[in-house]
C-alpha cells in the first residue's frame, strides 16, 4: 500500500485476473452449452460464481481502502468520471436495441408493405402483408398473439420506478444532512421498489407467455419487446443489488455527508435505469 505520493496507486491485485478467468469460464460455458455440450452450463455457472467471488473481493478491497481514508478528492473524481462513462456506454448498448426498434418500425416494416421502391418485394414475396405496428411479420411468426397494453401493470411499474427515483433522492439529501436513519429507510424503500418492479416484470412475462402467446419468437414485436424490457430488467436487478450493498454499508456506518461516492454512483445508475424505462414505456408499450 503505497501512500507516499498524492494519488493512490494500488501495488498489485489478484482480482482482475480472477475476473478475467471468471468471464472466460462464463462465456466458454455458454458457448459450449449452446453447441449442445452437457458440461457447458456447469462451466458457465462456475464462471458466474468466480465473477461474483471477484466482485466481492475486489469491491471489498475498494471499500476497506475507502474506509481507511486512502481516497482523496482526486481518486473520488476518477471514480465519478469512470462511473459516468460506464453509464454512457450502457446507454449506447440500449441505443442499439432502440435503434433496431425504430428501424423496424420506420423502415423495415413499411418496406415489407411495399413502400418506397419496394413495390415488387411486397407484390412477389408478401402480397398479403400490410404494414402496421405491432407485427410479427409477413409470415406471422409465433402465431396469433395479444399486444401488451400500456395501462395496467406497465403503468404501475412506471409509477414504482418513478417513486423509487424520488426515494433515492430523499435518501441522498438525508445522507448529506447526516440524517442516517432516514437515509437507511429511504434506501430500503428504493431497493424494495426495485425488487417489486422486477417481480411484477416477471409476472408480466409469465402472463405474456401463458395467456397472451406473446413470446421472444413472436416476430419483430416479440423480439424487440422482450430484448428491450429483458435487458432493462437485468439492469434493474443489478441496480437493486447495488442498492442493497450500499444499504448494508449505510447500516454499518459507512459514508460521510461529504464522502460517499459509492452511494452516488449507485444513485446515478438507478436514475439511468429509470430513464431507460421511461423510453421503453413510451416507445415499446405506449406508442
Amino acid at each position: 500500500m503505497d501512500q507516499t505520493h498524492g494519488y493512490y496507486v494500488p501495488h498489485s491485485s489478484n482480482w482482475p485476473f480472477v475476473g478475467a478467468i471468471g468471464l472466460f469460464l462464463l462465456m466458454f460455458g455458454v458457448s459450449t452449452a449452446l453447441n449442445g455440450a452437457g458440461f457447458g452450463s456447469w462451466v458457465a455457472w462456475i464462471g458466474v460464481a468466480v465473477v461474483l467471488f471477484m466482485m466481492v473481493g475486489w469491491f471489498g478491497n475498494v471499500i476497506s481502502e475507502s474506509e481507511a481514508g486512502m481516497y482523496n478528492l482526486a481518486e473520488d473524481r476518477s471514480f465519478r468520471m469512470g462511473m459516468t462513462w460506464f453509464i454512457i456506454s450502457e446507454v449506447m448498448f440500449f441505443a442499439a436495441f432502440f435503434g433496431a426498434l425504430f428501424y423496424a418500425r420506420q423502415m423495415a416494416i413499411p418496406w415489407l408493405g411495399g413502400e418506397g421502391n419496394n413495390f415488387f418485394t411486397h407484390l412477389f414475396l408478401y402480397p398479403e402483408f400490410s404494414a402496421e405496428w405491432p407485427t410479427n411479420g409477413p409470415n406471422a411468426l409465433g402465431g396469433d398473439y395479444q399486444v401488451m397494453a400500456a395501462t395496467g401493470l406497465p403503468l404501475i411499474n412506471t409509477l414504482i420506478l418513478l417513486t423509487s427515483g424520488v426515494t433515492i433522492t430523499i435518501a441522498h439529501h438525508a445522507l448529506k444532512e447526516n440524517n442516517r436513519s432516514l437515509t437507511a429507510w429511504m434506501l430500503f424503500a428504493t431497493l424494495s421498489l426495485g425488487f417489486i418492479f422486477v417481480g411484477l416484470q416477471a409476472y408480466e412475462y409469465y402472463h405474456a407467455y401463458h395467456a397472451m402467446n406473446l413470446k421472444l419468437s413472436t416476430g419483430i414485436y416479440g423480439s424487440t419487446f422482450f430484448m428491450l424490457t429483458g435487458f432493462h430488467g437485468m439492469h434493474v436487478t443489478l441496480g437493486a443489488i447495488m442498492l442493497t450493498v450500499i444499504w448494508i454499508r449505510v447500516l454499518k456506518g459507512h459514508f460521510t455527508p461529504s464522502h460517499h461516492f459509492a452511494f452516488e454512483g449507485v444513485a446515478w445508475y438507478w436514475h439511468f435505469v429509470d430513464v431507460v424505462w421511461l423510453g421503453l414505456y413510451i416507445f415499446v408499450y405506449w406508442l
Binding site: H5, S12, F17, F93
Partner: protein, 524 residues
C-alpha cells in the same frame, strides 16, 4: 517547456515472476503486455494473410479448400483489428499517456489490469474455433446475417469473443479518458497536451460510444440464431440490412479508432525529426474532433449497394466526402511542419514519412469509394481491399512501428539497431506497395474480394501481390528481432533520446523508472 522531478525510483515490492505480470497495476507493465500481445497477434494474423496470398499466388484452387480460405479471411481481419492494431494502440497509450501528461499511473490501475487480461482469453476463445468441427467463422469479419448464422459450432465462440474484446476496449477507454481528464500535471492545460494524448482522448470517446453498439448487434445475432428472435429475418418483420446499419454505426467509428492514435504518433514524430514545433497544433486538435464527429454520420457508405433510398445515398456520400477536409488539414500540417525543418531520417521518421505518403493514397481511394455511382462498380472488389489495406498497413501499422522505434529507447534504456531498423523500413515500404498497389488494378478490372480463385487475366498482378506479401511477412521478423535485441542491451539511451524531442516523457531517465511522476511535474 517543462521540468520534471522523479522521486524514489524504487522497484515494486509486489510479487515477482509470472505473478508480477498477472497482478500488476503498473501502467508500464500493462503497456508492455499489451504491446507483446499485439506483436504476437500480428504474427498470427500475418500467418493467415500468408495462407491467403499463397492460395492467390496463381489462379485455380491449390493449397486450401475454399471453406478454409474463407475462415482465413474472416479470422485474419478479426485478429488484426481486435488483436493486433487496437491492443497496440492501447499499449502505447498505457505506456505513454501517463508519461506525457505527468501522471503517476493510469487513473484506475486495477481496471487497467483487467482490461488487458480479458484479451488473451478472448483470443483463446476466438482462435480455438479453428479446431472445432466446422472450423472457424467464415462469413467475413463483418458478420452479416443470414450468412453468419450458418456458422457451425464456432458461432457462439465468435459472438462471446467479440463481447470480451468489447468489454476490454470499453474499460480501457474509460481508463484513458479518466487519466487524461483527471491526472494531468499542474499547468498541463488541455491545449498543451501532446497530440498523441489528444487523439487518444477522442479515440476513447469513440470506443465508449460504439463498442456497446457492436455488443448489441452481435447479441441480436445470437438471439436470432438460438432464441427465435427475428431482428434480421424479414419473415418476422425484421431486416437483414438492419444488421448492416447497426454494425457499420460501430464499424465506421471503429476504422477511425484504428487511425486517430496513428495521427497522434505521427504528429509527435514529425516535429521531433524536423526540429520544429508541430505546425497548426490547435487546428490538428479540431480536425481530429471533426473527423470523430463525422465518423458517426457516414456509416452507410459501406453499404451503398444494398438498395437504400436515394436521399440516404446522397447524404452519406456528401458526409463522407466532407471527411477529406479535416484529413487534408492534417496532411498539410504535417507537410508544413517539415517545411524548412532541419530534418534527419532515423527509422521512426522514415516510417512517419511513409505514413504520410501511403496513408494519403488510401485516403484518396477512399474518396473514390465515397462516390455512389463509382462505388457501385468498386463495391466488394479488390479495389476496396487495396483501399483499406493502404490505410491500415502503411497507415495504422506503420504508425505503430514508427511509435515503437520512437519510444523503444525510452522503454528499454537502449538504442535499437538503427541499421536493422532502416533495413526493416525499406523492405517493408517497398513490399507493402508491391502487395497492395496491384490490388487497385485488379479491383478496377473487376476481381471480387473474398474468393480463393479468380479469372486468369488477374494472374500477373496477383502473383506480384503475393510475392510482396511474402517479403513483407518475412521482413517483420527483423522488427521482432530488433525489439528483442533492444530489450536485451545495446547502446545506452539518454533521457532525451532524440535531439529534437520535446515533452514530459523525455524528461524522465531511459529506461523510464517503474514509478514516474509520483510528485507531479510543473508544466509552464
Amino acid at each position: 517547456m517543462s521540468t520534471a522531478t522523479t522521486t524514489h525510483g524504487h522497484e515494486d515490492h509486489g510479487p515477482t515472476g509470472i505473478r508480477r505480470w498477472l497482478t500488476t497495476t503498473n501502467h508500464k507493465d500493462i503497456g508492455t503486455m499489451y504491446l507483446v500481445f499485439s506483436l504476437l497477434m500480428f504474427f498470427v494474423g500475418g500467418a493467415m494473410a500468408m495462407v491467403i496470398r499463397a492460395e492467390l499466388f496463381q489462379p485455380g484452387l491449390q493449397l486450401v479448400d475454399p471453406g478454409f480460405f474463407n475462415q482465413m479471411t474472416t479470422m485474419h481481419a478479426l485478429v488484426m483489428i481486435f488483436g493486433a492494431v487496437m491492443p497496440a494502440f492501447v499499449g502505447l497509450a498505457n505506456w505513454m499517456v501517463p508519461l506525457m501528461v505527468g501522471a503517476p499511473d493510469m487513473a484506475l490501475p486495477r481496471l487497467n489490469n483487467w482490461s488487458f487480461w480479458i484479451l488473451p482469453f478472448a483470443f483463446t476463445l476466438l482462435l480455438s474455433t479453428l479446431f472445432l468441427p466446422g472450423g472457424a467463422p467464415a462469413g467475413g469479419w463483418t458478420m452479416y446475417p443470414p450468412l453468419v448464422l450458418q456458422t457451425g459450432n464456432a458461432f457462439p465462440f465468435l459472438i462471446f469473443s467479440v463481447h470480451l474484446m468489447g468489454i476490454s476496449s470499453i474499460m480501457g477507454a474509460i481508463n484513458i479518458i479518466v487519466t487524461i481528464m483527471n491526472m494531468r500535471a499542474p499547468g498541463m492545460t488541455l491545449l498543451k497536451m501532446p497530440l498523441f494524448v489528444w487523439t487518444w482522448l477522442i479515440t476513447a470517446y469513440l470506443l465508449i460510444l460504439v463498442m456497446p453498439v457492436l455488443a448489441g448487434a452481435v447479441t441480436m445475432l445470437l438471439t436470432d440464431k438460438y432464441f427465435g428472435t427475428s431482428f434480421f429475418l424479414a419473415a418476422g418483420g425484421g431486416d437483414p440490412v438492419m444488421f448492416q446499419h447497426i454494425f457499420w454505426f460501430f464499424g465506421h467509428p471503429e476504422v477511425y479508432i484504428m487511425i486517430l492514435p496513428a495521427f497522434g504518433i505521427i504528429s509527435e514524430i514529425i516535429p521531433t525529426f524536423s526540429r520544429k514545433p508541430l505546425f497548426g497544433y490547435s487546428s490538428m486538435v479540431y480536425a481530429t474532433a471533426s473527423i470523430a464527429f463525422l465518423s458517426f454520420i457516414v456509416w452507410a457508405h459501406h453499404m451503398f449497394t444494398v438498395g437504400m433510398p436515394l436521399a440516404g445515398q446522397l447524404f452519406f456520400m456528401f458526409a463522407t466526402m466532407l471527411i477529406a477536409v479535416p484529413t487534408g488539414v492534417k496532411v498539410f500540417n504535417w507537410v508544413a511542419t517539415m517545411w524548412k525543418g532541419a530534418m534527419t531520417f532515423e527509422t521512426p521518421m522514415l516510417f512517419a514519412l511513409a505514413f504520410v505518403f501511403l496513408f494519403t493514397i488510401g485516403g484518396f481511394s477512399g474518396l473514390m469509394l465515397a462516390i455512389v455511382p463509382a462505388d457501385v462498380q468498386y463495391h466488394d472488389s479488390y479495389f476496396v481491399v487495396a483501399h483499406f489495406h493502404y490505410v491500415l498497413v502503411p497507415g495504422a501499422v506503420f504508425a505503430i512501428m514508427a511509435g515503437v522505434y520512437y519510444w523503444l529507447p525510452k522503454w528499454t534504456g537502449y538504442m535499437y539497431d538503427e541499421k536493422m531498423g532502416k533495413l526493416h523500413f525499406w523492405i517493408s515500404a517497398i513490399s507493402v506497395n508491391l502487395t497492395f498497389f496491384p490490388m487497385h488494378f485488379v479491383g478496377l478490372a473487376g476481381m471480387p474480394r473474398r474468393i480463393p480463385d479468380y479469372a486468369t487475366q488477374f494472374a500477373d498482378f496477383n502473383m506480384i501481390a503475393s510475392v510482396g506479401a511474402f517479403v513483407f511477412g518475412v521482413s517483420q521478423l527483423l522488427f521482432a528481432w530488433n525489439i528483442y535485441k533492444c530489450a536485451r542491451g545495446g547502446k545506452k539511451a539518454t533521457a532525451q533520446v532524440w535531439e529534437g524531442a520535446q515533452g514530459l516523457e523525455w524528461t524522465v531517465p531511459s529506461p523510464a523508472p517503474h514509478h514516474t511522476f509520483d510528485t507531479p511535474p510543473v508544466v509552464k
